[in-house]
């Protein structure tokens, strides 16, 4: 029965002989999240949230709201329509929530690693996770936190109280600080995968202190009316190590002039690898308000400092050709091209530097302005005026201007209301105004959040605004309503204007 033999042989070969026949499901192309180690995740973890949020949407939103950026109405139609009309919906900049949360997953993966040798990596991850979670609270209030970032383990995290999260961010930063303090030779040292400080844990300690300072100060206005917060802040400031950053905190994995390798800010608002102007660069222009303010001439809301600020020509580019060459001109937010100059200024050389330029996480100027405010409010010792002026100097330096130029400006402006320490009735307003200038085009989001907290600087709304004030917050994104409806608090457009983040008492 040869036939039977043949068939049996076929059966055996085809189906039965391969005991491990189905064992072909191990991915030859990528490692898995169970096998990857924190040292191979840190650089990506640090870079993604910066890359995906900071230069683009966060900055764009803040600079639109803070009257720093306008659209080139001479060439484009419909730019910043929602931002200027203040049409806040759950779609409005929902990418900030969506991208930020997704990008923080890598930090969580590092923190969840059970091996003990990665404490240094974990400390860095904890610091940056807190850094970004503060923004999430500042923009949205109650958010998923304790159950967040659990990946497939929990697809519908519940929401935590905003104040509780804020308190926990301080605790997490304390854990990170102790991890750094207790770092020893058992812990794997951090190397080039730390694309912020190249493994210099001392610098991370200072950065963590400064983040704590920012988190605490955010609650300072609330503390004026809320005794419990006041007590909490006093305790925290007491134990806060007063050793803050004095240099800009920057991120740079090795940006270069190659596709996907450029500094993302430069690649977005500057030039592509071939040197061609990007669409965003053609689109974004100076605003009439910011230009006039920095020129020292009368703005639409009647502010006039009479002090020309040399930072103007670094933040915005003088018009390159034509009859208006050399001038710096902006568009009034919400205006059409009827009364707009035929040429408008683009982002300037102080911001658009090169493909290799650093990415900005936190500015030294910001650190000084925070210290100035904390000193002024009596939370920390120090000379508030000097700290304030140091902030201005750092801002000048960052934009490529000299300390001498800064000193000259400080001398001229010192007695001028809003921009000088001595001349300003309201020191907080002066700090916020200088912070607004220092963060123009760099971190508009921080500028808007500080405005929400303090109400300063008082800048006009776009002429097309359909509301009489800026929103106090963003609305929970569409994605939460469609995927986490059982947990996300219900909101309407009105809530963006009528409800506040817990620290906002203005």
């Amino acid at each position: 029965m040869k036939i039977k033999h043949l068939i049996l042989t076929i059966i055996a070969f085809t189906f039965l002989s391969c005991e491990n026949y189905l064992d072909v499901n191990e991915d030859p192309n990528n490692p898995t999240q169970n096998t990857i180690t924190p040292d191979l995740l840190l650089a990506g973890g640090l870079h993604d949230p910066y890359n995906n949020i900071f230069p683009g949407s966060a900055n764009r939103l803040g600079n639109a709201f803070m009257n720093n950026w306008g659209p080139n109405v001479n060439s484009f139609t419909g730019g910043f329509l929602d931002e200027f009309q203040l049409r806040i919906t759950s779609n409005f900049y929902d990418i900030i929530w969506d991208n930020l949360y997704r990008d923080l997953g890598t930090f969580q993966l590092i923190l969840d690693n059970e091996e003990e040798i990665y404490d240094n990596h974990k400390a860095i991850s904890r610091i940056m996770k807190s850094f970004y979670f503060q923004y999430l609270v500042d923009l949205y209030g109650d958010i998923p936190y304790t159950e967040a970032l659990a990946g497939g383990e929990n697809l519908t995290p519940t929401y935590d109280d905003e104040t509780e999260i804020y308190r926990d961010l301080i605790s997490e930063l304390d854990v990170a600080l102790s991890e750094i303090e207790n770092s020893d030779s058992d812990d794997l040292s951090v190397g080039s995968e730390d694309i912020v400080y190249q493994g210099d844990l001392e610098m991370w300690r200072k950065f963590a202190n400064t983040i704590k300072l920012r988190i605490l100060l955010r609650q300072s206005e609330l503390a004026l009316t809320d005794g419990e917060t006041q007590t909490y802040l006093n305790q925290q400031f007491n134990s806060l190590e007063k050793d803050f950053i004095t240099e800009n905190v920057v991120i740079n994995p090795g940006y270069s002039n190659a596709e996907d390798k450029q500094n993302p800010y430069y690649a977005l608002y500057g030039f592509d690898t071939q040197g061609n102007t990007t669409t965003s660069r053609q689109f974004l222009t100076a605003t009439d308000y910011a230009v006039k303010f920095l020129k020292g001439i009368e703005t639409e809301n009647g502010v006039q400092t009479n002090i020309p600020d040399p930072r103007l020509g670094r933040i915005y580019e003088p018009i390159q050709s034509g009859d208006l060459a050399g001038e710096i001109l902006g568009v009034q937010q919400g205006a059409d091209n009827t009364d707009t100059p035929p040429e408008l200024s683009k982002l300037g050389d102080g911001l658009i530097i090169s493909s290799e330029q650093d990415g900005y996480l936190m500015m030294a100027s910001e650190s000084y302005f925070l210290q100035a405010e904390a000193a002024f409010r009596g939370y920390i010792p120090g000379d508030a005026k000097m700290l304030f002026q140091n902030g201005i100097i750092e801002s000048y330096n960052l934009l490529g201007l000299t300390t001498a130029q800064a000193d000259s400006y400080i001398n001229q402006s010192n007695s001028v209301n809003l921009i000088g320490w001595d001349g300003s009735q309201n020191k907080i307003e002066a700090i916020m105004t200088q912070k607004w200038i220092a963060l123009n085009g760099i971190n508009g989001l921080e500028s808007w959040i500080e405005y929400t907290r303090t109400g300063f600087p008082e800048i006009p709304l776009p002429i097309t605004a359909t509301r009489d004030s800026k929103p106090n917050r963003l609305l929970y994104p569409t994605s939460e309503f469609s995927t986490n409806s059982a947990n996300v608090p219900q909101q309407s457009t009105e809530d963006a204007f009528s409800t506040r983040i817990f620290w906002d008492v203005n």
Binding site: G45, L81, L109, E480, S482
Partner: protein, 1031 residues
């Protein structure tokens, strides 16, 4: 001709009758055709002997046969029939036309031939004639409108285009809903089917539900197209068929645009004529001759009158395409074997100049019987080469006012384009292109061994090898400073290229043992048990980068920049599956059939604990017309009622390695030797299990008045559970999407087919076949936490959702905010208020589909047509949306340009209510405010949700068969010539001013159907002629 044949048979009979007879039982009878007319000259032979006779002029015969004889009736052009004589002394035989043969014996799952009576679920067979009658070079597209319940959706038009094949709508939310393709018994794929020579297809049996495909397991859950290719027929001498067709293709329609205002935009002084604007926001046409566009290379301007060149002026961009097909096939067959060879070449020049396709397909098939062995083999090679421009040129083309003399800008480049903000479509055509070449080999072998009359075994093995390579390139563009200074716009693009190789191997092996036993006097049993093995392997490498040093050299060495991370990669994947299955069929006499199947699959894509799954099916059919003598009388000649239940497990939508939770390289990494990974954004539950569909189906097939009227009705309902759904997750989890076992859908539907033969005489035959199909799918559950999930689309603007309690799929857009009377609420500026997020705007699958196939033959002329009608659904047209803001849409010019009272609008009355608006004007007082108004309207994407109703005359053909008298003295046996038209008539609702074909979609396959984009070429229609000669 008939006489000649008779003479031959008489001669044969004379030979045969010499043999003499040893037995003695006389049988007499009459043979008629299916309309009851007597058939003279029918060959009547006692099976297994040389004993035979022929019917006389009145169809009568008389023959002496042995005991337990079986008579075989055969007649040219008719289906052979065997009749067991038994104790009958008089036999009445009805022979069916050979073309009806497919209705009688159907090739079903695993290549098993089944009698029509035995089949317990809905199917429809399309024969070769129907496939090729309109010269369609694409087998898949040729099925459009021909099978009730089958949707062939041409999701994009192009040299090859994209097609989505579904049966009975969608069941899975994010999994696979596409029908399975089986070619000659082995699982294949639609891409391979599309490369086959349409002339080599014998028939396609469309199994509409999961029933017949239960034996194919997982992949058959969505129905199946069982394709059978031609083979030589028994008793056929060498026959050669030549076929040549030529078709001409034109744009069917383009979006209609306003013809009142010309090129221009607001420049602070009203609607200004600006000669380099992409907008139609210029002044009213005045006919004055003026310059158009940017200056040409020599500094001159193209001049044209400032008047509309018609609402469809962009049609000038397109040319008449030509498709030529030449094919030859050879067949020969005998009792012992057959041979079939076909070769076809197709050359297509598309409506876009330089876009073309070249296809060559060779198919060789042969088989032979040796004693108890039957061996056959089938080898197919196909080459498809295409060259195409990037279809984004269509979106750029749409940025044109109607005064633009389009074709005069062919050689102007981007520098001299008619607008300064978009690229010249002619430049994109020449500089942003792709080339593909695809070599496919398909080798199929089939060995059957018959142990005895009760048992046989088949081993079938199929290998598909697909080697594709391609090149995408963009020659780049640098905007001259003069243009930047003039307009502030810079359209520069970096040069780039991508070159890739894809290797795809698929092996399929079946081992089946068939049993056929007569259990009792009236009960027969056939059964099969089998094993199946599938193995898929892919390898892909791709290299690409930005910045070409020397223009036109597309190689990595010519890169001035680095490799582009997004286009430089290499991946491999492997998928394996094996299965064991069994099926059993019982028949009682010739009128009651019961069948059952069972199958277990083991699939490599699941984790070890979840990789085995089992599913069964049962079915029954009953034929009262055969069971009860005289049932139905003279009116009802055939009745079959069927019922079936099937459960099918499905691993569709899950790819190899998905359950591993892999980490990905961080964006932009590696930087300077530093590589890093990031947490996954999208995962598949490691504990994922297969999803299941359960379907219950009832059917009825009836024939009236000797099949002059036929009625086929099928009703089904289904439920699914454990759907593998790729849900959007709360991003707060750190993930965007996760594939998990959740989600349930249910639904019902059915098909009704009514066949009519209003006329049938010797010279004149008119056939009509009406079809009605309906499918309704509802989402019963999405997840425990969420009541909806996005399936895809433009996020936040026009997106397809699965929503609990709603029909699936459902379109959501940004809608007008309406008061309780349905009036659009306006704000104080007259701007419509909009919903704060996307809201439901309609379902995107038709309520029902009607199709009609008809053919009318008079003597040698045959006129046939295929048409269909779909309604009750909507789609989103991004093309329309993109005409709003530049002022090209007809609506932007209706009633002149200025403020107007928004129709059916209301304003807040201050007390929480609304009053009808008669006072607040919309559009503002300036040109700029009017443009802004339409910009806002564009954001209310409900404006671009259109009724997707469509009537389409898919095919119309007129064929003339050269009369046999003319061919008598030649070596030619058959010749015909035909004139055909495809898609020559489309009727759309008024609101769809030709914006998009409602079938077009932003994704080729996927379940997010109902969103069309601007990058999709307008639909085309074709006219052609065909010549067919056999000898």
């Amino acid at each position: 001709m008939k006489q000649n044949v008779n003479w031959i048979f008489l001669f044969l009979f004379a030979l045969i009758s010499h043999v003499g007879f040893a037995q003695s039982q006389e049988v007499t009878g009459t043979v008629v055709d299916n309309s009851g007319l007597p058939l003279p000259g029918v060959n009547v032979i006692e099976d297994g002997t040389t004993n035979g006779t022929q019917t006389d002029f009145d169809g009568n015969f008389s023959i002496e046969v042995g005991q337990s004889a079986v008579l075989v009736f055969s007649y040219l052009g008719m289906k052979e029939q065997k009749v067991t004589v038994g104790s009958q002394s008089s036999i009445q035989v009805t022979l069916m036309n050979a073309t009806d043969q497919l209705d009688e014996v159907v090739i079903t799952a695993l290549g098993i031939k089944r009698k029509k009576d035995e089949i317990t679920s809905a199917y429809e067979v399309v024969d070769n004639e129907s496939i090729v009658k309109a010269n369609n070079p694409d087998v898949v597209n040729s099925l459009s409108g021909k099978v009730t319940g089958l949707t062939i959706k041409q999701t994009s038009n192009g040299v090859t285009g994209d097609t989505r094949i579904t049966l009975r709508g969608s069941r899975s939310i994010t999994g696979n809903n596409e029908a399975l393709i089986v070619i000659d018994g082995a699982i294949s794929n639609a891409n391979f089917l599309r490369t086959l020579n349409p002339n080599s297809i014998e028939s396609i049996n469309v199994i509409k539900g999961p029933n017949g495909a239960a034996l194919y397991g997982s992949q058959g859950a969505n129905g199946a197209l069982i394709v059978t290719t031609k083979r030589g027929k028994e008793g056929e001498n060498l026959k050669i068929t030549l076929k040549s067709t030529t078709d001409f293709t034109n744009v069917a329609y383009v979006p209609e645009r306003q013809t009142r205002y010309g090129q221009g935009w607001d420049l602070g002084q009203g609607f200004a004529s600006i000669i380099y604007e992409n907008g139609g926001w210029g002044p009213e046409f005045d006919g004055q001759i003026g310059n158009v566009g940017l200056p040409q290379a020599d500094g001159s301007y193209i001049e044209a009158p400032f008047s509309s060149r018609g609402a469809d002026n962009i049609k000038d961009f397109f040319q008449t395409g030509v498709t030529q097909q030449n094919s030859i096939s050879l067949t020969s067959g005998s009792e012992k074997g057959f041979i079939f060879f076909s070769a076809q070449n197709e050359n297509t020049e598309f409506i876009i100049d330089r876009d073309k396709l070249n296809r060559s397909t060779f198919n060789f098939k042969a088989g032979r019987t040796y004693d108890k062995w039957e061996v056959s083999g089938n080898a197919t090679y196909s080459y498809v080469g295409t060259e195409e421009a990037d279809s984004r040129l269509y979106g750029e083309l749409n940025q044109s006012a109607t005064n633009i003399p389009i074709e005069r800008f062919e050689n102007s480049g981007n520098e001299g384009h008619w607008n300064a903000y978009f690229l010249n479509p002619y430049s994109i055509r020449d500089n942003d292109r792709s080339e593909r070449s695809n070599n496919r080999f398909n080798v199929l072998g089939d060995v059957k061994y018959t142990f005895n009359e009760n048992i046989n075994a088949i081993v079938r093995s199929n290998g598909i090898f697909n080697f594709a390579n391609g090149l995408n390139f963009n020659n780049g563009y640098t905007e001259p400073e003069s243009v930047v200074n003039l307009t502030g716009a810079d359209r520069s693009e970096a040069s780039s290229f991508q070159r890739f190789n894809t290797e795809f191997q698929e092996y399929y092996t079946d081992l089946i043992v068939n049993f056929d036993y007569k259990l009792f006097e009236d009960i027969n049993m056939t059964a099969n048990v089998g094993l199946n093995n599938q193995y898929l392997k892919t390898n892909q490498t791709s290299v690409g980068g930005v910045g070409l040093t020397v223009p036109g050299i597309y190689s990595s060495e010519n890169l001035s920049g680095q490799f582009d991370q997004a286009t430089t990669f290499d991946t491999q994947s492997t998928r394996r599956r094996y299965s064991a299955f069994a099926g059993v069929n019982f028949s009682y006499k010739d009128y009651l059939y019961v069948n059952a199947t069972a199958r277990n699959d083991w699939s490599s894509v699941f984790s070890e604990e979840n990789n085995s799954y089992f599913y069964p099916s049962v079915g029954a059919s009953f034929l009262p017309t055969k069971a009860f003598e005289g049932f139905g009388g003279d009116i009802l000649n055939y009745l079959k009622v069927t019922g079936s239940y099937v459960k099918v497990g499905n691993d569709g939508g899950i790819d190899p390695f998905d359950v591993n939770q892999v980490v990905n390289q961080g964006l932009g990494f590696p930087f300077n030797g530093l590589n890093s990974y990031v947490a996954p954004r999208s995962i598949t539950d490691p504990q994922l299990e297969p999803e299941f569909t359960n379907q219950l189906e009832f059917g009825l097939n009836a024939g009236f008045l000797k099949d002059r009227i036929t009625l086929d009705v099928a009703y089904y309902n289904f439920t699914t559970d454990n759907l593998i759904t790729n849900i959007a997750t709360s991003t707060a989890s750190g993930l965007s999407r996760s594939a998990i076992n959740i989600g349930e859908t249910s639904g019902y539907g059915g098909e009704v087919n009514l066949g009519l033969v209003p006329f049938k005489t010797d010279d004149l035959v008119w056939n009509l076949n009406f079809g009605y199909a309906k499918n309704y799918t509802e989402v019963d559950k999405v997840t425990d936490q969420a009541t909806e999930v996005s399936v895809g689309g433009f996020a936040g603007a026009a997106e397809i959702f699965a929503i609990e309690g709603e029909q699936f799929p459902m379109l959501k857009t940004i809608n007008f905010l309406r008061d309780n009377q349905g009036r659009v609420i306006l704000d104080s500026n007259g701007t419509p208020e909009q919903t704060s997020g996307p809201e439901i705007s309609g379902n995107t699958t038709p309520d029902y589909t009607l199709n009609l196939n008809t053919s009318f033959s008079f003597k040698n002329w045959t006129l046939s047509a295929t048409m269909d009608y779909r309604t009750g659904h909507v789609f989103y047209s991004d093309t329309q949306n993109n005409l709003l803001w530049p002022g090209h849409d007809v609506a932007t010019a209706e009633g002149g340009r200025g403020s107007f009272i928004f129709p059916n609008s209301s304003i807040p009355d201050g007390n929480g209510g609304f009053t009808a608006n008669t006072t607040v004007p919309s559009g503002g007082t300036t040109a700029a405010s009017y443009i802004t108004f339409w910009n806002n309207m564009r954001g209310i994407t409900e404006n671009s949700v259109l009724d997707a109703t469509a009537f389409q005359l898919r095919e119309l053909s007129l064929r003339y068969d050269v009369t046999s008298e003319l061919l008598e003295k030649t070596f030619i046996t058959n010749a015909s010539i035909s004139v055909v038209g495809r898609n020559i008539l489309t009727v759309l609702p008024e609101e769809n001013r030709g914006y998009n074909d409602p079938e077009s979609n932003f994704t080729a396959t996927g379940n997010a159907q109902g969103v069309s984009t601007t990058g999709q070429y307008p639909p085309t229609r074709s006219y052609g002629i065909g010549l067919n000669v056999s000898f």
